[in-house]
Symmetry: C2
């Protein structure tokens, strides 16, 4: 497939343009490089973009993170870069087709029904034409495996009965689950389809009675039906529900009277059960051991190592821990000026070499059968500057303010976010990303519906049992970057009318980057208490040298 042949087709079919999004039939979930049609068509390798091809031109829509990268990667003679910071796609369409009624083709597997309906609402005169259904699924064979009940706490049968109750409450005959993470949780199945997210990429059709059908392709799962069967099966149900946020438009094309019904599994799986919570705590202990051993190793060996070298070393430490399966995402190891790039990923050819005099921002995590971790530490190599210390201390103050907050039931993430930003905002500073995200259980490291972000105005209320990150940061362009990230679970406070966070992550914070005179007495108490907890939790699992190092790292300030 190339742009020119698409343009030929557009002319033939008298179409105004063809829309491509970045993703496959599992809307908004991770994809493999070979599933990336935008990369195939344009060469652009970032993690977010829209491509709109007209008979004469092609337009690549990218956000602030990717403006420079897009310019480098694509053929600017053929493709125009449009900045999403300046105009959103729907407005661009409205402007471009102000006078003519546009006829726009889209891939019905790739666009969620919600996105399609939003475009239709905003461009009432335009015609959106489903074309070239392409599931964008890699043909690579996938191994499926069970997530054992000793880890999940609930059997698939238990979970199906919860979903059946929901189906009955909604007065449906059946519900089509189209989120891979939801399907994986529901059936206690996982797969090796993706390198860091162990989900089984499948759809599951659950009937009111509790019987179900799995749809998946290129797997060794015998009971799986090919997605093509949906065309014959979906119309058989009088009242079928699916979540238009995660269902591709294809579902409504196949079953025009399908009812938009929230995917309740999202809410069920977000609240961890006692087995999952116990597992998550145990996984975080092992992850803390690995990270702490790594930090000790790093303190002795950083000189001359590159960003990719140390990421590999950290993975080696994690691999030694029980129940380890994979990284939970590709480690972000940014040294010096690279640390200022929020979404930095080193590649071996360009990786920076570590040396004295700056900071290393290290954001990493592991998938364990009994939990998923995600942790960021900012580590000084040699003596940090006063600016680095001040900014790290401000970020720490924000982290502590949120981590020690007590809040009402039904408080949403956007109502908590400012607590973490205040120390920076008071100085006119900020960070351009969210403050926290929900985390799955041997599943997506970014899991809905929990989200802590001033920009997510209608985020879901936090509930006891949810796991979320707290990760304020600060980034000084061409200088350095700071982020302090722990995971926490939500639990009832001492007064059980209210909620609070309980820390999961166990690894020391670099005290060389903390100015204790900028901390209040309560903040200092939090820090020393956290370090004591880290030390007491990890001390049994370290070598003599590692223990000496940790004792020092955790000594009260």
């Amino acid at each position: 497939m190339d742009i020119k042949s698409i343009q030929k087709e557009l002319k033939k079919e008298n179409l105004s343009g063809a829309l491509f999004t970045l993703g496959n039939m599992f809307i908004d979930e991770d994809i493999l490089p070979e599933e990336n049609r935008i990369r195939e068509l344009t060469g652009f390798s970032g993690s977010y973009a829209l491509l709109f091809i007209t008979p004469a031109k092609a337009f690549l829509f990218v956000d602030g993170r990717y403006e420079l990268q897009a310019k480098k990667e694509v053929n600017l003679k053929q493709i125009e870069i449009v900045k999403l910071a300046e105009i959103c796609f729907a407005d661009w369409l409205k402007k471009s087709f102000a006078k003519t009624a546009a006829r726009i083709s889209y891939n019905p597997w790739q666009l969620s029904q919600n996105t399609l309906e939003s475009l239709q609402r905003q461009l009432p005169k335009a015609e959106f034409i489903p074309a070239s259904p392409d599931k964008c699924l890699s043909p690579k064979k996938v191994k499926v495996f069970a997530h054992q009940k000793k880890f999940t706490g609930l059997s698939a049968k238990d979970k199906l009965s919860l979903v059946c109750a929901y189906i009955k409450q909604r007065k449906l005959a059946a519900f089509l689950v189209t989120s891979a993470a939801s399907c994986s949780w529901l059936l206690n199945l996982r797969s090796n389809a993706l390198p860091c997210t162990p989900v089984l990429r499948a759809y599951v059709l659950v009937e009111k009675s509790g019987t179900y059908k799995i749809f998946a392709e290129h797997t060794d799962l015998k009971e799986a039906l090919p997605f093509e069967k949906l065309a014959a099966i979906l119309p058989q149900y009088a009242k079928l529900g699916t979540d238009f946020a995660t269902a591709p438009a294809m579902v409504k094309n196949l079953k025009p009277d399908v009812i938009n019904t929230p995917d309740e599994i999202m809410n069920l799986k977000a609240v961890k059960n006692p087995t999952e919570l116990k597992g998550t705590r145990a996984a975080h202990l092992r992850d803390g051991i690995a990270l702490t051993k790594f930090m000790y190793w790093l303190s002795k060996n950083y000189k001359g190592k590159t960003e990719t070298d140390i990421a590999a070393k950290l993975l080696d430490f994690r691999k030694k821990e029980a129940n380890f399966y994979s990284e939970s995402f590709a480690t972000i190891a940014g040294f010096g000026t690279n640390a200022a790039i929020v979404h930095y990923h080193a590649c071996p050819e360009r990786a920076a070499t570590l040396k004295k005099g700056s900071v290393l921002l290290l954001d990493s995590g592991g998938q364990y059968f009994d939990g998923t971790t995600d942790v960021t530490r900012t580590i000084a190599l040699g003596d940090p500057t006063a600016d680095m210390v001040e900014k790290n201390t401000l970020v720490l103050k924000g982290h502590i303010a949120l981590a020690s907050a007590v809040f009402h039931q039904h408080t949403a993430g956007n109502e908590l976010d400012l607590l973490a930003r205040e120390p920076l905002l008071k100085l006119g500073l900020d960070y351009e990303h969210g403050t926290g995200h929900g985390v799955g259980y041997f599943s997506d490291v970014h899991e809905g519906p929990a989200r802590i972000s001033i920009h997510a105005k209608h985020s879901a209320p936090l509930k006891a049992g949810m796991v979320t990150s707290i990760e304020p940061g600060y980034y000084k362009e061409n200088a350095f970057g700071i982020r302090i990230e722990n995971l926490y679970y939500v639990k009832p406070a001492k007064n059980p009318k209210f909620l609070q966070f309980e820390v999961l992550t166990l690894a020391p914070l670099d005290k060389r980057l903390i100015n204790k005179y900028l901390l209040t007495a309560d903040e200092l108490k939090w820090l020393n208490h956290y370090h004591r907890q880290v030390f007491l939790s990890l001390k049994k699992y370290l070598t003599k040298q590692e223990l000496e190092w940790l004792k020092d790292a955790c000594a009260p300030l």
Copy 2:
């Protein structure tokens, strides 16, 4: 009108029940006692209730504040009290009419179109029948007067042209303004209809061209048309807009195709113009002088005085200030255990007498031609207990956290609220009211759309120029109550990407109720800076004795 004759009528008309709300044709605005149909029918004198009369019974729906009071005031043989804390009205209706299709009469002047539509949505089988249109307007003659341009900054003509632009943008032929506060702002008119809120109670119909008609009754305004004329006039417009939140259902009854259109005047008037901001600052200076003189007087004279005595004395001090018009609400002066009742209003027969050993909670404000004030001070009489000092200090910490916050553009009140509650929540404590409300300009002391409350999930973003209260509190039943309230205006922060608050209220906080060792260095700095500002602002306007007292009251801690 009495319950029995209504019940007779219900039987005759074969109706299931009649709904009465508390209010007149100006939805959710203050009313006069003689306009209160629920009081007339039941004797209940609280500020919020719903009354539902069936052929056999009557049900009075009240919230937690009024459960006890309702039981005392109404005839329990005839009227059953329903607690809104346990069931909302719509759910109660659903339960009561689960099997029969209810036929419910309502007063179309008294119910907003939004409320009617919400009830209809929740009870799709019920029939809502407009009955007995009663505007619930006092026949007392009202004097109308101009709010002079030297105070308003903009002429009515200027304001009309802003509204015309909005009407055109919305592609309407005309817009019917039904909020009394909006009409008053638009035409720079005020009236003496209400004791503490100087609004002109009118509707204004603005045409696209800028011409307008005023509808008002019992006023000396010559150009005013009676409301009955709406029936003939509204249908003349092809596209008429009105805000269903503030328009009574009557408007849609008279003009079935009226279009629900937000009242943009709410947003326009919430952002104060430079003349209004200057006025507000000047009014707050005068109000601070009056309150400070009163506090000095109180310190010497409280013994033997009752709550109503001192409220009258405070009014005397305010009356001496330039541009003073009236109180902005009936002063809440609660001493001792009365201070623990959030909505306490003393009456001369029951007012407590002030004496040593507890606190006075004093919430009051003034209407000045150049601004509206609202301030709460908690004042120790004699030596306060350690508990009072601790709780007042926690409330102060919350007040300071919010007052000194820096926040993003588009931050809504519910996203700020937790900053003020954290010091209490951390100890498992809280207050059961909002943290702040918008304030009008020689108008409603509670003005939308700004609101700072964890319970107002979809409140409007704060904008530069808005005026809001910050008023955390703490109430210990049968013991004492604390509230610390200042007004602030919103302005760009040093980094103009962000916003912050600037204080308007100028009156000392009682240092005898502050434990400085519970404050952080930054909090102490805020307090001492505020007191210095109060002292420097007020010092010119006081007697020698008052000045001595203020010097001491404002000396740094």
